[in-house]
């Protein structure tokens, strides 16, 4: 009995401690999400929601070529942006963590500096650089070269913009992971016959894989939901899934369809995160190394 009571009190304590977090999740994540899920099975007519349960919204999305194209475009864009950010962030984070010395904190803050100005300003700044009268093309025309159409109102411009926007998250995630990484392990790897590249592959990457996955998720999710960046940098043909989703809640007023598109976006993002974290083996992350159940 005494044991049972003890357990009981412990359970209570755990519950009390988890309450604020749970409430937050319920109010700010679960309820809005549940609302959208419910709406996605309804119908909109003349700007009003009608609660007759059906699957038509999903069928529409999955059978309309336009929607599928946008979905595919956004997915490709997100994958490409995540991948390029990954490749770019690793050396930056590594350099800061290893050689930053006492400037480490400042350097890390600097990668996030553009954030202090807000998304809109940052995207506008990108426009000033990449656009038709932007710095790059002005320079090119000044020295007598043709302007780069590639950089004007195109998916490439959007991609560059998105990378620029979200890369600080990736750098930060990898950097924070590297802070707890014992660089001396690389000495051990090299002594035992590993070249620097091999040592990275065998030791550095696996031991910082969780941080890398967090970075990937932090870049993929906002990129997949991007609306402002493609609107400002992508030009007339640059719309992505997020733009047409936003459209449903705007002038067309097809909220139910929009909700279904939102649910699909959430599902795909979740799936991406799930797949990425599927590659994490906690035993081999260096965090615990404990065998489950032991």
């Amino acid at each position: 009995m005494a044991v049972k009571q003890f357990l009981h009190s412990k359970d209570l304590k755990a519950l009390a401690l988890s309450l604020p977090g749970a409430l937050f999740i319920i109010f700010f994540l679960f309820i809005p999400l549940a609302t959208i899920v419910v709406y996605s099975f309804w119908r909109t007519e003349s700007y009003t929601m009608i609660a007759d349960w059906n699957l038509n919204n999903y069928l529409t999305i999955l059978t309309t070529k336009t929607y599928l194209t946008f979905l595919f475009r956004s997915l490709s864009m997100s994958l490409a942006v995540s991948f390029i950010s990954l490749i770019y962030s690793w050396p930056v984070a590594y350099y800061i963590a290893k050689y930053g010395g006492r400037y480490r904190l400042i350097l890390t803050m600097l990668t996030a500096a553009p954030f202090f100005t807000g998304i809109l300003l940052r995207v506008t700044a990108m426009q000033q650089i990449l656009g038709p009268i932007g710095v790059v093309n002005m320079f090119l025309s000044n020295i007598g070269l043709k302007p780069l159409h590639l950089l004007m109102y195109s998916h490439y411009a959007t991609g560059l913009g998105l990378i620029y926007l979200w890369i600080p998250f990736m750098v930060l995630a990898i950097y924070l992971s590297l802070l707890t990484f014992d660089f001396k392990l690389l000495d051990a790897a090299m002594i035992n016959g590993a070249s620097p590249l091999r040592a990275f592959w065998e030791v550095t990457l696996p031991l910082n894989w969780i941080g890398t996955c967090i970075g990937l998720a932090l870049v993929f999710i906002p990129t997949f939901a991007a609306t402002i960046t493609p609107k400002f940098l992508g030009g007339v043909n640059g719309a992505l899934y997020g733009n047409i989703l936003a459209h449903q809640f705007g002038s067309t007023g097809t909220w139910a369809l929009g909700s279904a598109m939102g649910v699909l976006m959430f599902t795909i993002s979740s799936l991406f995160v799930f797949i990425v974290f599927k590659t994490v083996n906690l035993n081999r992350s260096g965090y615990t190394g404990k065998i489950a159940g032991e």
Binding site: D187, A188, S195, R198, E202, N283, G286, I291, E294
Partner: protein, 378 residues
């Protein structure tokens, strides 16, 4: 053949008979000369200890041998090959680190087999080697554990196994036992000697523990401020220290210093805070110079006052016994002399007649200590 060429050829031949050779190696960190003009030869199959106090440059020297640190000057030969310019992964060495540095995300088996995997050895061959080395370090059955599921001693064995598995030309060990408790350290010392004898790979063993160096090695280099004070057979270092530093560093010593009052034959008489002591005269010392004298505690004898029976030529001083530390086969006796100085004597335990607070006679042969010119005031 012209003589020059012949000499080079000869030098090469000489080089190749050593497992490791360092030629005038130097390393500078800012204003610190961490390694200062060090030359060294380690023979095949030798257990070589690098002994020195903290900050004397032992780790730096080891890292230069390993290629983890570049030598500012000088060359490193391993197995007869000049590897000065080679990266660590192309030197054919193994290394055991003070904090083990096992890969936390790899199992014991994977950790140990890592060097074999890097050599692209076939799976069956890897298994063979792994099984051999697991037997050697007595870690059979632990292959699937992760490093954090091991005790300190087990981690130590795994680290050793990883260093040995690829049968390197030489194994470098940086204070491998420093993180273990005393009990385990004693046990591992025995094991360490066994491994080394069994596999016949030369060990270069860094330690700041003189006892460890004396127990384990064949030869010792005593390091101070980046340079070698003395290199030689361990008994030679113990019995004939070349410098005051070596004399003070090895063994449990009483340090005595004072000005030379007068000289007689090979002996000087110094004034040790009011006591006149007979001491062997170091080279070139004249009356008026200062001498430092190192007297090993085990070379001294202690007896109840008036009961001593010293050998011919001994010095006997009276003192008061302050404390006794029982060490098993002998005890350390701490005494206060008439000039208020303390001395420690290691002698057979004699509980019957030696009592704390009692008067005792302390005796030793002047020639059993080592004397050097003292640099400056004490």
């Amino acid at each position: 053949m012209d003589t020059n060429k012949f000499l080079f050829f000869f030098k090469d031949m000489q080089t190749s008979s050593y497992a490791l050779q360092l030629v005038e190696v130097e390393k500078q960190f800012g204003d610190v000369r961490a390694v200062d003009n060090v030359s060294l030869e380690v023979k095949k199959g030798e257990f070589f200890a690098l002994l020195g106090p903290s900050g004397s440059g032992k780790t730096t020297l080891l890292r230069i041998i390993a290629g983890l640190e570049s030598a500012g000057k000088g060359s490193v030969f391993i197995g007869g090959k000049n590897v000065t310019k080679n990266p660590p992964y192309a030197r054919g060495i193994g290394m055991v680190f003070q904090d083990f540095l096992l890969f936390p995300h790899k199992t014991v088996g994977e950790n140990i087999a890592f060097p074999l995997k890097m050599k692209k050895m076939s799976a069956t061959h890897q298994q063979e080697q792994l099984s051999w080395v697991l037997d050697l370090v007595r870690m059979k059955g632990y292959e699937d554990r992760f490093p954090n599921q091991l005790s300190g001693g087990q981690k130590q064995r795994v680290a050793l196994a990883r260093g040995l598995v690829a049968r390197p030309d030489i194994l470098l060990l940086d204070e491998p036992l420093a993180n273990l408790d005393r009990e385990l350290r004693k046990e591992m010392e025995v094991e360490m000697r066994r491994f080394q004898a069994e596999i016949d790979i030369p060990f270069v063993y860094v330690t700041h523990n003189q006892e460890e160096a004396l127990t384990l090695s064949n030869r010792i280099a005593v390091m101070k401020d980046g340079h070698f004070e003395q290199v030689g057979d361990k008994l030679e270092l113990y019995d004939e220290p070349a410098t005051a530093f070596v004399a003070s560093f090895l063994g449990l010593n009483n340090t005595i210093s004072g000005e030379v009052l007068r000289q007689e034959n090979d002996f000087s008489f110094i004034d040790w805070k009011g006591i006149e002591l007979k001491i062997p005269t170091p080279n070139g010392i004249k009356p008026g110079d200062r001498i430092a004298y190192y007297l090993r505690s085990e070379k001294m004898h202690i007896n109840p006052h008036g009961k001593s029976n010293p050998v011919d030529g001994s010095i006997t001083l009276t003192a008061v016994l302050r404390d006794i530390i029982f060490k098993g086969q002998y005890s350390d006796y701490f005494v206060i002399l008439d000039n208020d100085e303390e001395m420690v004597i290691s002698d057979v335990p004699d509980i019957e007649s030696l009592k704390i607070g009692g008067k005792v006679d302390v005796s030793w042969l002047p020639s059993s200590g080592f004397s050097f010119a003292a640099d400056g005031e004490e």
